[in-house]
Symmetry: C2
């Protein structure tokens, strides 16, 4: 079959459990990303960038409604400004890209390419904030950041430049600042679950794993097909740590000077990679309909003697589905079989086949990308059916991902079981004490797994349990896994 032959050249040749090869093939063959002349930096091709725009717009809409305003700060951070908060700078300097020259001139001071913008923004915040009336000040920016990692780069999942939002908010009291967490993590979780169809493990990082410069970090952790966890969106409560380093003070209602309280939060283009990896299969990309730039593709099956009728029906179908993102594939140079494979590879959620027999029957054939299930549908009820089916695909992908995540988390009561769970490519749910030595030992004994986070009810659930390392009273139950 011509279609099959063509597929063998173009299709994915690796199985999902050869994760790295499989993932790379999908990235390149589904035209999501390409390598560039800069090592570790990718080109986002139209499909992946359109998905990022949808994520950005959904998050942005919710932020704006809440009163968070967008700004834009410089790409560059002078070395002196970057270095003001000791823990923060220590966390980032090993990965900073430095500009040393402009044109023919050597700069007087090196400029860091922002790995994150706390330091350059807070320098301005200290000028902008004078009194309690200026607070809360809730700002955000959508931009590019650079972290020159020396680990093996993977498209979307680990790239030296990536895109993100960075929210930076300032409050007069710790209570107000901390109360923002529910909104922020709720927003990210809503967009991840209901658009990307991705559930996650939400909780607080251990002190050892929190963000450099934060008082504490709340993270969303996802389980990848090959059993590694990967960190997604996060929220950091910085307390007064940066306020003290960058002199962000305000006069309170009594006219007394106080340091402000701050949060930062982010969602990054890494989420594209997480979504591509979790939903896709051996035939290529699978995309949730609500995030897919093309939701349905119409492929007419043309023969000389019925060409006109089939084309008329195909155009009628396109017209009837105009409220969806629909593509009518009229290319003459490829056979239908080739097109089926191509759109499968590229993850279009629904295929609509229109052939000569359909003309008489006044129907078309719908094929779901996620299950491959075919169904003949009358043209007169098509729009309603497509709407329902797209919703079903969306829900079914989320359910499948939830099932995978649930099956991927296993309770472990002692070190031996932790090691076994980790070896079986799952996440262990483990009673631990707060001791950093125990966390270090756990990592050593489990072959490199770390505390991903501690669910909000992790302390309550630890009652009566003992730390898997030292055997003393456990402080919390924590998710433990190998992390990307």
């Amino acid at each position: 079959m011509a279609g099959r032959q063509e597929k063998d050249e173009k299709g994915v040749t690796a199985e999902k459990d050869e994760f790295s090869e499989w993932f790379t093939q999908i990235m390149l063959k589904a035209d999501l990303a390409d390598y560039t002349a800069v090592s570790g930096c990718i080109a986002f091709r139209p499909t992946s960038y359109a998905i990022w725009e949808k994520i950005r717009d959904e998050v942005d809409k919710r932020f704006k409604k809440e009163g968070i305003k967008n700004v834009y700060f410089p790409l560059f951070i002078p070395e002196k400004v970057l270095s003001k908060e000791a823990e923060h700078v220590e966390g980032f300097t090993p990965e900073v890209a430095w500009v040393t020259h402009a044109g023919e001139s050597k700069l007087k001071e090196r400029l860091a390419i922002r790995p994150t913008s706390e330091t350059i923004m807070y320098d301005s915040f200290s000028k902008w904030i004078r009194s309690w009336r200026d607070l809360p000040m809730r700002l955000n920016q959508w931009n590019n950041v650079v972290r020159w990692e020396f680990k093996h780069p993977v498209p979307f999942l680990r790239t030296r430049e990536f895109l993100w939002n960075e929210g930076h908010t300032v409050f007069a009291s710790k209570e107000e600042a901390e109360a923002e967490m529910d909104f922020v993590i709720g927003t990210y979780d809503d967009v991840c679950r209901n658009f990307l169809a991705l559930p996650s493990l939400i909780g607080r990082k251990s002190d050892k794993e929190k963000f450099a410069g934060a008082e504490y970090t709340v993270s969303m952790e996802f389980l990848m097909p090959h059993g590694k966890a990967i960190q997604g969106p996060d929220f950091h409560h910085d307390g007064q740590i940066f306020a003290k380093a960058y002199d962000i003070t305000f006069l309170n209602e009594e006219g007394k000077k106080e340091y402000a309280y701050q949060n930062t939060f982010a969602i990054t283009t890494r989420m594209l990679g997480v979504m591509f990896a979790i939903h896709s299969d051996k035939n290529g990309l699978v995309l949730p309909p609500r995030i897919a730039p093309t939701q349905a593709v119409i492929v007419p099956i043309l023969f000389d003697d019925s060409r006109d009728e089939v084309l008329t029906l195909a155009r009628d179908v396109e017209e009837k589905l105009s409220k969806f993102e629909v593509l009518l594939d009229l290319r003459e140079e490829h056979k239908p079989g080739y097109k089926f494979n191509e759109w499968e590879l590229k993850g279009v959620p629904l295929r609509i086949e229109v052939g000569p027999k359909d003309v008489e029957r006044k129907e078309v054939v719908l094929v779901r990308r996620d299950t491959g299930k075919k169904e003949a549908v009358k043209v007169r009820s098509l729009a309603a059916k497509v709407e329902r089916m797209l919703e079903e695909i969306q829900e079914s992908l989320l359910e499948k991902a939830e099932k995978f995540l649930r099956a991927g988390v296993v309770e472990a009561k002692d070190l031996l079981s932790v090691e076994k769970v980790i070896r079986s490519k799952k996440i262990a749910f483990v009673p631990l004490c707060r001791g950093v030595e125990c966390e270090d030992m756990l990592k050593y004994k489990s072959g490199g797994a770390k505390v991903l986070n501690i669910p909000f009810d992790g302390e309550k659930r630890a009652k009566g349990k003992t730390c898997v390392v030292c055997g003393k009273k456990a402080d919390y139950l924590a998710y433990v896994g190998k992390s990307y």
Copy 2:
């Protein structure tokens, strides 16, 4: 008067004809931008960034409808890749910021921060384009670029980092490529005229002034209040110049290899500065309603004995105007006079005053920011009136800007008149031949004015006229002025 006193501290103290001081004061005092720790790079504060988002969204909508797709390419360009097209690299290297180190390591090859992305994108384009079926390929990105200018930086107008779109399109034939110009310049002109209320001089650059690497450049030139011209959006037709340097070829329908034809085009955050400068006045910022993040502000005038009724009316007004971007200023710490001055300074197009007498009369007072004209309006007809008045302000700002531009362009038939026009801070409309020597001489004799561009009918209109420099037959009429 308390309001007046407060204004003297906060308001603009320079007149518009002290352009540099006046402009800087508006940028800072209207909270549009702030200087940062990085010389030549500004922070975009919420108002200016919200305006940029509107410009971006308007342009982006039109591009997408036309089939142009967004992508994202790396911030970095390896030195070798940047250097492939000789004229292009020569145009940019004096202003390139170079990354030489990452963390503690020296990089093997220096990386340029993109001053524009032709070179890194076309490296990929040459891989992506194989046959005529891949064409046209019309891509665009919204990003940040860096040009390390050594001239005095001015917020928005000349900054070392700025934001823009860069369109990069590839066609199989020169005709198709050139036909894109009307759409692109038409889009930019539409957004500039109908949203920013800014008319411009549109035409082709002279060969001397075209973009480094282009066959020709079409530009939009704006006249600033202090008589200098400034270049806005532009469109470059690159012919096969980059295609030959970066090997962008395709197999045509006959199976023969051909070089492709390319265009690039851009609109930048400089347009914010141009708009702020042209419309604003001695009282501060003036914004066209269609681009203003806040279109109207409601200021209640509160006295103890009528407080509740006035607040009820103010809230009713807010409710009635919910389809507009309206702000109800309920701050208790400032008097109405202070608020009037503040919103005037910040350029809100319409002020709505609600006082005790208005309650009985069932009316409010509307005050136009552009003219200061006051008008009492019945509450029952308020929404329709506000809609009409915002439209009137929008049109009136465009008309005023058109009048200013028309008055600022003066025909000049000889070198002496050119010099006189330039000295009077206007743009001269001048018959010229194509000779580069004549263009150089013109610049020298006029005290630094250059050819801005040549209107599309500039050749036709030169019939029977002679070059102001050499006295031979003129090839075209050109706009000549001092440029930012």
